[in-house]
């Protein structure tokens, strides 16, 4: 039993978060280097670099520096890797979007500029509000998330506009992006409530009775998404549901049954959706219609081939021949300009982010935290794999954005909100409150058995919400 002193005052937290600071400062330096490369390329096109060109960089730096400071001030003891890696990926997103002309001269609109700080602020708000176990308040609002998701989906279905073969949303905002967070919260909260019954399998069969409300909501949502022909989102959410169920109940059977059933349903569905079938056909052989259906992916691949191993670097030859470069195919732009080496670095960063998310999920102290974080990690992992796989033709192109890199306000804000949630979960639980729970004697015993028996009940350790006042955790929980 160790007795490490938990940081209490601000100075302690300043010292505690030194690794985050160090990594973040390096990330900002890297962003500065990248921005210099960017401006140099702009000059090549005959444009003078004006002071205003530095505004996006300064905004970016300001946002992340204040994020770090806020976390210190909030005495946040959660994860320290997530913020710097998010900053790095955001910097890369900034550069990539600048290269596609979104941040060029004249395109410096306030709304675009405000998006990043807005996202960071959203992330911080959720993190700080949900720290020290308060994120579990979200678990009480099961049906708020469920009903909100369904209503949102219905609204989009009624008012949405068709764009590139699928219904996306209201104008250029894509509200369905929000589902990636709200459905994760709904599922995590629902399973949290019924975790005992859901974990109790009869032999090889999952319990069906406690599922029906969950299945009803999911069925309604997925069929609306299918009506909308948003196959990519169906895939993301479906996999997330399975992952959350399996991780929360510790029943790998959910994974197995889910994949088998989902695969079968997918195989049947894809025959009925000409939209889906044609995408698969294009994927299998883009050369049958190279100037039509195969155009996007082939142009992306052409750019990547032109880039080769090292790429041309940011130079006068802008990637203006890649279609939908700023959103779906932004990975192709990056790989074209910085070559295979550049895309390897980018994917390494994604690996760091996603691995970290998975780690935080796997180490969460409450079942709800575990499931919510697992959900977020799954959403972002599947999204990344689908996007990068689609652009490189390893998978069919599904029209999914690359988290943090692609242009798109709804997507960006949802990602930041999701990261905020995981950050909040990584802060752990209030230690002191354990004493106030109804079963104080059971708790320490349970915490020991937690490793031995893997009973979900042990999550109840430290359960109890502080209703007011700052929490001062005195000691780290016994491990």
């Amino acid at each position: 039993m160790m007795s490490r002193v938990t940081p209490t005052n601000l100075e302690d937290f300043w010292r505690l978060r030194a690794p985050e600071r160090q990594l973040l400062l390096w990330a900002l330096l890297i962003a500065l280097l990248g921005y210099l490369m960017l401006l140099g390329a702009q000059t090549k096109e005959g444009l003078d670099v004006r002071l205003s060109a530095l505004i996006p960089l300064l905004v970016f730096m300001g946002a992340f520096v204040s994020a770090h400071l806020s976390l210190v001030l909030a005495r946040f003891r959660g994860d320290q890797l997530l913020l710097p890696v998010t900053a790095l990926l955001s910097a890369i997103g900034l550069m990539a979007q600048a290269r596609t002309g979104l941040l060029g001269a004249g395109a410096l609109h306030g709304s675009k500029l405000a998006l990043l700080p807005l996202g960071v602020a959203l992330m911080l708000t959720i993190t700080i509000a949900g720290r020290q176990g308060r994120y579990r308040l979200a678990a009480r609002a099961t049906w708020v998330w469920g009903v909100f998701s369904l209503l949102l989906m219905a609204l989009v279905l009624v008012t949405g506009q068709r764009y590139r073969g699928a219904v996306y949303g209201l104008g250029l905002i894509t509200p369905t992006e929000l589902l990636k967070l709200t459905m994760v919260l709904f599922t995590a909260a629902f399973v949290d409530q019924h975790i005992k019954r859901l974990s109790r399998w009869r032999g090889l069969l999952p319990p069906l009775a406690p599922h029906w409300r969950l299945l009803l909501v999911w069925g309604a949502l997925l069929s609306m998404l299918l009506l909308q022909r948003d196959l990519g989102l169906v895939l993301i959410l479906g996999l997330t549901l399975i992952a959350v169920l399996a991780a929360g109940t510790r029943q790998p059977g959910y994974l197995l049954y889910g994949l088998v059933l989902g695969g079968a349903a997918g195989a049947v569905l894809i025959r009925f959706f000409s939209h889906g079938l044609s995408r698969v056909e294009v994927w299998m052989n883009p050369f049958t219609d190279p100037t039509g259906a195969g155009w996007q992916v082939l142009q992306g691949l052409s750019g990547m081939y032109a880039g080769g191993l090292w790429g041309e670097g940011f130079s006068e030859a802008r990637p203006r021949y890649t279609p939908i470069a700023e959103s779906d195919l932004i990975y192709a732009v990056w790989a074209e300009e910085l070559g295979f080496a550049g895309s390897l670095l980018l994917l390494l960063l994604f690996a760091v982010l996603l691995t970290r998310l998975l780690t935080l999920a796997a180490r969460a102290r409450t079942p709800f935290g575990l499931m919510a974080a697992t959900g977020v990690a799954t959403v972002l992992s599947v999204q990344t794999v689908l996007n990068v796989g689609g652009v490189t033709k390893a998978l069919p192109l599904t029209g999914i954005t690359l988290p943090l890199i692609s242009h798109g306000g709804s997507s960006l804000l949802t990602v930041f909100a999701s990261l905020g949630l995981v950050l909040a979960i990584s802060d752990g639980e209030p230690v002191k409150s354990r004493a106030k729970t109804s079963a104080p004697k059971v708790a320490p015993k349970a915490s020991k058995t937690s490793k031995a028996t893997n009973m979900p009940d042990v999550y109840r350790v430290g359960y109890g919400l502080r209703r007011k006042g700052g929490v001062k955790p005195v000691k780290s929980s016994p491990q």
């Binding site: 390096w26 140099g40 710097p84 050369f287 142009q299 052409s302 750019g303 550049g342 895309s343 691995t355």
Partner: protein
């Protein structure tokens, strides 16, 4: 800011730019290393121990990313090995710096190293030049950014683009191109089995033939299938491809490869097939061939010999051949004899012969690195049992049977090669392949003697030349489009054949007077070259 602008415009900026990119990449690597190193510092003691599924989950994610990167590399780094992809980029990619625009396709050479196709650089783009123009339009084909690829250009596209990775050196070259981002990948030169001189002569003679100047010539080596001449006239100029070339679909269409795809009634040249069938089934003895001809029913016009028509035209009487044996009938090309022979053999034997001779097939040439050319064999719908007249007609190469010149050359080659047909071959470095056996070695040997007789004292005696020892069969094929097609198929020298050939002149008239002399002149030319 001015300082920055001046810096970006100064000459050293180019070097600094590269350095900046390098610094960027190195800083990223350093960051990653640090993130790993600081793991201890950012460990999460206040959280639970990781669940057991963490490792498999991370493993799965890593696997997915590695798989995607690997696949990406096959396009981004190894795209050269995807001919369709290269062709797509050559057509549709407007990025000036895309190496696909700079591919120096390898040259295509004839068997003596004469250049049939090569690439030049013009205004920064690679341009394909065909020194012989229309002569090799079908065999060599074209590689055009607008119209794609055909012929040898297509079947050897990967090698010509420098994309066949066969030896260690090829892999080394690819590695060099990837690492240095060489903007001028260079393809491999390709040596064909074609002979430019012979091909030129063949095209010239066919084009000069009256009345339409269309036709085809195929010459190949019986022993290994090496094709020396694959000529189809009219051709088109691959140096100046026009969309109009691709629109016409009538008989005069220059795009069609008459040698491999043109289906013509083979006429008497088809009698070698019947002769082979008769020898295989043990036919011997004589058949009576009267002047009034032969028919299966009084309702049908009798099948007569050409001597009858000649005599009739000259106002003379002709007594008919009388009893003929197979050898003499082949030499004299007696329709009456072979029509009877066909009926005698019957429908079943004829169908079996068709099977054995690969009728109604598409025969592949020896494959290239990225595809293969094909030739159509004879085309013949099954003849119903009750249609005896149809069988009699097919037996003399008329009626419902058609064949391509390349296929007829293949039959001649099989006779010359102990009955075994070798797969036609255009690329010198591809090893010979056996296609199939058309007939027994004994049959082939006896046919060889008979075909020699057809030239030394039969219908082909007009081209008998000392020293060439030509063996062959003429054909004069009636057709609904106009004057008879003129055929001559055979091989030389008869005792030890080195070349087999088929010559077709559309609407040329008698095989013995139009097609046969062309074949003789080509053989003379070949003999000059020591072939």
């Amino acid at each position: 800011m001015d300082l920055l602008n001046d810096l970006f415009r100064s000459p050293p900026w180019e070097a600094m730019r590269v350095g900046l990119h390098l610094a960027f990449a190195l800083a990223l690597l350093f960051w990653l290393w640090q993130a790993l190193r600081l793991r201890a510092a950012v460990s999460l003691r206040h959280l639970a121990r990781p669940r057991a599924w963490l490792l498999p989950a991370v493993g799965l994610l890593t696997l997915a990313l590695v798989a995607i990167l690997t696949y990406q590399a096959t396009w981004q780094l190894g795209g050269m090995a995807r001919p369709q992809f290269i062709a797509f980029m050559q057509l549709h990619d407007r990025r000036q710096f895309n190496p696909a625009h700079w591919v120096q396709r390898g040259r295509i050479l004839d068997r003596r190293g004469r250049v049939l196709a090569e690439s030049h650089n013009r205004d920064g783009a690679a341009e394909r030049v065909y020194p012989y123009g229309p002569v090799f339009a079908h065999a060599v084909g074209y590689a055009d950014p607008r119209f794609g690829l055909s012929g040898i250009e297509a079947i050897a596209n990967r090698a010509l683009n420098g994309a066949t990775l066969q030896s260690l050196g090829d892999w080394g070259e690819l590695g060099r191109q990837v690492l240095t981002q060489s903007k001028r990948p260079r393809g491999q030169d390709l040596v064909t089995t074609l002979d430019a001189e012979l091909q030129q002569l063949a095209v010239k003679r066919i084009a000069a033939a009256k009345p339409v100047g269309r036709g085809a010539v195929v010459i190949l080596r019986p022993t290994d299938g090496a094709v020396l001449v694959l000529a189809s006239v009219p051709g088109f100029d691959p140096n100046r491809l026009q969309p109009t070339v691709f629109t016409g679909a009538d008989a005069t269409n220059p795009l069609m490869n008459r040698a491999t795809q043109g289906q013509y009634p083979p006429g008497s040249s088809f009698k070698v097939v019947l002769a082979a069938q008769a020898l295989e089934t043990g036919f011997h003895g004589r058949l009576d061939c009267p002047a009034e001809g032969y028919t299966t029913s009084s309702r049908y016009r009798p099948i007569r010999d050409h001597e009858y028509y000649e005599a009739k035209r000259a106002g003379r009487a002709w007594a008919g051949h009388g009893p003929l044996d197979l050898s003499t009938a082949l030499a004299k090309s007696s329709n009456v004899f072979f029509a009877q022979l066909g009926i005698l053999g019957g429908h079943r034997a004829f169908a079996a012969t068709g099977q054995r001779f690969s009728f109604n097939r598409s025969i592949a040439f020896v494959g290239g690195p990225s595809g293969t050319l094909r030739l159509q064999s004879a085309r013949l719908e099954p003849i119903p049992e009750r249609d005896r007249y149809g069988l009699a007609q097919a037996a003399i190469g008329q009626g419902r049977v058609t064949a391509t010149p390349a296929y007829m050359a293949l039959i001649a080659a099989a006779i010359a090669n102990e009955g075994v047909a070798m797969r036609p071959r255009l690329l010198r470095d591809r090893p010979p392949e056996t296609l199939t056996r058309f007939m027994s070695a004994d049959t082939a040997r006896r046919l060889r003697v008979m075909l020699r007789g057809a030239v030394s004292e039969g219908t082909g005696r007009g081209i008998e030349t000392d020293g060439l020892e030509i063996a062959g069969k003429t054909g004069t094929a009636e057709n609904p489009q106009g004057a008879s097609h003129s055929w001559f198929i055979g091989f030389a020298p008869a005792s030890a054949p080195r070349l087999a050939f088929a010559v077709l002149v559309e609407h040329g008239g008698y095989g013995s007077t139009v097609a046969a002399p062309i074949a003789r002149d080509l053989l003379l030319k070949a003999a000059e070259q020591g072939l």
